[in-house]
């Protein structure tokens, strides 16, 4: 690949957002994602676009709501506690069917936690962090290159389905530097005839999530659910490594998946056939891929930097056809290769 540059995950995501046509960025300082608003404060004015540092995360996400309703590509970024503060508006945007990209460079929790990378925000992202029945598209990068590439995907998916999209990264992915190529891609232009652009010469558009008349809210919810079903049918990104002949299948995303890749090489050198299913979209979840793998796998091992959140979705997908084990670290801890190998060898012996 030519034109590769050495860049941090946070900056790669920021530059990709600019290349993807993000017209307005709204942010608020929180570690470990400060490089994103800092980068945007330099680059957006150069491009003649909008950078605003809000007075709180609450303000930032509501600025995103306003910009999105006006029909422009818009984004905010934060880290776990800041994302928690945004949840009211995220629920509103899901109800309003407003597209936007929200990047969560997640850190250890709960509460103030720490500033190390973590994956404890899976439930919040995938199961709906705010109130009401809704889902968000959730995309999980695992490298600096993907921090860039999946940002393009996120903007396209947000516009295509009129829904907020979460990029669920973590502090390690945000801070690490790798060689990456950020291409200028052709922007998929989607006509936003629903946007509030001034009703001169047309009927007024209404963006709303409040329905008080009898059955009206249920009907609106049915419409939303149909959309979520459509997304489930059409969108699923997953990476599979050496799964066809694998006795042991790891399921891991983001930083954890990188560690599992290395574990697989080591295990295979010791004649243990291991493979990896890496969900890239966490919602929709690659249920079918896991279900198929469960037909021949000896057992599954889910590895996360959490107390065990995604493992619940893995179990739902496996439907009891194979044992599902879990290994995790919490509060910014990183799973170690040696510990995982030790556990796998033990489980492997016991399963024989």
């Amino acid at each position: 690949m030519k034109n590769k540059i050495l860049i941090s995950g946070n900056e790669a995501l920021a530059e990709a957002a600019i290349q993807a046509g993000c017209k307005a960025y709204f942010g608020y300082p929180i570690t470990p994602q400060n490089e994103i608003p800092e980068y945007m404060s330099r680059r957006m004015p150069e491009e003649g676009r909008v950078f605003i540092q809000a007075e709180s995360e609450l303000a930032a996400i509501n600025m995103v709501l306003g910009a999105s309703a006006s029909g422009v590509r818009t984004m905010t970024t934060s880290s776990s506690p800041g994302i928690s503060l945004m949840q009211e508006a995220v629920s509103y945007m899901a109800g309003d069917e407003l597209p936007c990209v929200i990047a969560n460079v997640a850190r250890g929790g709960p509460g103030l936690g720490n500033i190390a990378g973590a994956q404890g925000d899976y439930f919040q992202s995938v199961k709906g962090g705010g109130h009401g029945d809704y889902n968000l598209i959730v995309i999980a990068p695992a490298s600096v290159q993907e921090m860039a590439d999946l940002t393009f995907t996120a903007f396209d998916m947000a516009d295509k389905y009129r829904t907020p999209v979460i990029i669920l990264a973590d502090g390690y992915l945000g801070q690490m530097m790798e060689a990456a190529q950020i291409e200028k891609k052709a922007i998929q232009s989607i006509k936003k005839d629903w946007a509030l652009t001034g009703a001169k010469g047309r009927k007024p558009n209404i963006i709303n999530s409040m329905y008080l008349a009898d059955d009206a809210l249920e009907k609106h919810n049915q419409k939303l659910q149909e959309k979520f079903q459509k997304i489930k049918k059409e969108l699923c990104l997953v990476e599979e490594i050496s799964t066809t002949d694998a006795d042991i299948i790891f399921v891991a995303y983001g930083t954890s998946a990188r560690i599992c890749k290395s574990v697989i090489i080591n295990l295979r050198a010791n004649k243990i056939k291991a493979g990896l299913i890496r969900p890239i979209t966490l919602w929709p979840f690659p249920t079918e891929t896991i279900k198929q793998a469960a037909l021949h796998a000896g057992f599954f091992l889910t590895v996360e930097m959490s107390a065990g959140q995604m493992v619940e979705d893995v179990r739902l997908s496996v439907e009891g056809k194979a044992p599902v084990y879990f290994y995790g670290r919490m509060g910014g801890g990183v799973p170690e290769e040696e510990k995982i190998i030790e556990l796998v060898e033990k489980l492997h012996r016991e399963s024989k």
Binding site: G27, Y28, P29, I30, T31, N34, P37, E38, S41, R42, P45, E46, F51, Q53, E55, S56, E57, P81, L85, L112
Partner: protein, 311 residues
């Protein structure tokens, strides 16, 4: 009023060994506030340098009951604590004459911006507490991002000076006057660099039976790019240039607590700090003039409010 010598004999309530920078204005402000305050004390802090660097678990530098919850809610948390003490008194579980003093510390990010709502609520409800803003004019804890206290022209990592923009474009928010508008018993501006002025104000504030607010300008060596051994001088020159006038509003009455004999030009303050370096380059004369004009205008207004003769 105790002398500096007498104050120095008191027990330090922010103990050494914390991890704030050498020359940090915030730690000086906090130590002086705590020395001057009547006891016993309960302290609340908002998220920020002060909170992070003084309470790295399992250590704490605070020699009294101390609480932190999040970034936007220090004043709300303190309201809850103060109400709980009042309730305990009403229930007869604390003697009715128990007098405990409540102080909240927040940086300008946690006070001017994200915490303004909870501060305003606490002031309006009338909780008996002193809120001290250690104001270093940017989000220093997360890497020097702009805040609404950052002065016009100031460089921060989210208001960079370059070809397109000259640093922060907006004027700083006048939080002191916003607090005055709450009609609370006592509001003041103080500075790290005039200990007697600050400690007197703390004692006045805590003698009130209601909310009080002190906005303390606290030089930050990293964020301002000033010499760590010149923290106090940098604070004092902010006063001498009328960038940061020392005054109080006691029961609604404005009063200057210090009046410079001769008001110095703002450039004397700006030139001590890297965050304004770009303003001193050729081509920025108009912006410099504008900054001076803003300060002159505010000073004139403050003289009028304080019943002083206009210069």
């Amino acid at each position: 009023m105790p002398t500096l010598k007498e104050l120095a004999k008191e027990q330090e309530l922010l103990s050494g060994g914390h991890r704030l920078c050498a020359g940090c204005g915030a730690s000086i402000a906090v130590r002086q506030v705590l020395l001057a305050a009547p006891k016993p004390l309960v302290v609340t802090s908002a998220t920020g340098c002060l909170e992070v660097a003084t309470t790295i678990f399992p250590y704490t530098a605070w020699e009294m009951p101390w609480m932190h919850s999040a970034f936007e809610n220090a004043a709300a948390t303190c309201s809850g604590i103060e109400s709980a003490y009042e309730s305990l008194k009403k229930q007869g579980r604390l003697p009715v004459d128990t007098k405990i003093y409540f102080i909240t510390f927040g940086g300008d990010g946690g006070t001017y911006d994200i915490g303004l709502q909870s501060l305003s609520g606490a002031a309006e409800r009338g909780h008996r507490m002193l809120y001290v803003c250690y104001n270093n004019q940017a989000y220093m804890n997360t890497g020097i991002q702009r805040s609404s206290a950052t002065p016009k022209g100031g460089f921060t990592t989210t208001s960079p000076a370059g070809k397109v923009k000259p640093g922060k474009e907006q004027a700083r928010k006048d939080l002191t006057e916003i607090m005055v508008a709450h009609n609370i018993p006592y509001v003041a501006q103080a500075v790290v660099g005039d200990w007697r002025d600050l400690t007197t104000k703390v004692q006045k504030a805590l003698s009130k039976d209601g909310p009080s607010f002190i906005n303390v300008l606290s030089p930050c060596r990293l964020g301002w790019g000033c010499a760590p051994e010149k923290t106090l001088q940098t604070g004092r020159i902010a006063v001498e240039t009328c960038f940061w006038p020392l005054y109080e509003v006691d029961e609604g009455v404005h009063k200057l607590t210090y009046k410079p004999k001769e008001k110095k030009p703002i450039i004397e303050f700006l030139k001590l700090q890297d965050r304004f370096k770009h303003l001193l380059k050729a081509g920025n004369e108009a912006l410099l003039a504008e900054i001076q004009e803003d300060i002159d205008k505010k000073w004139k207004k403050l003289l009028f409010l304080s019943g002083e003769k206009s210069e």
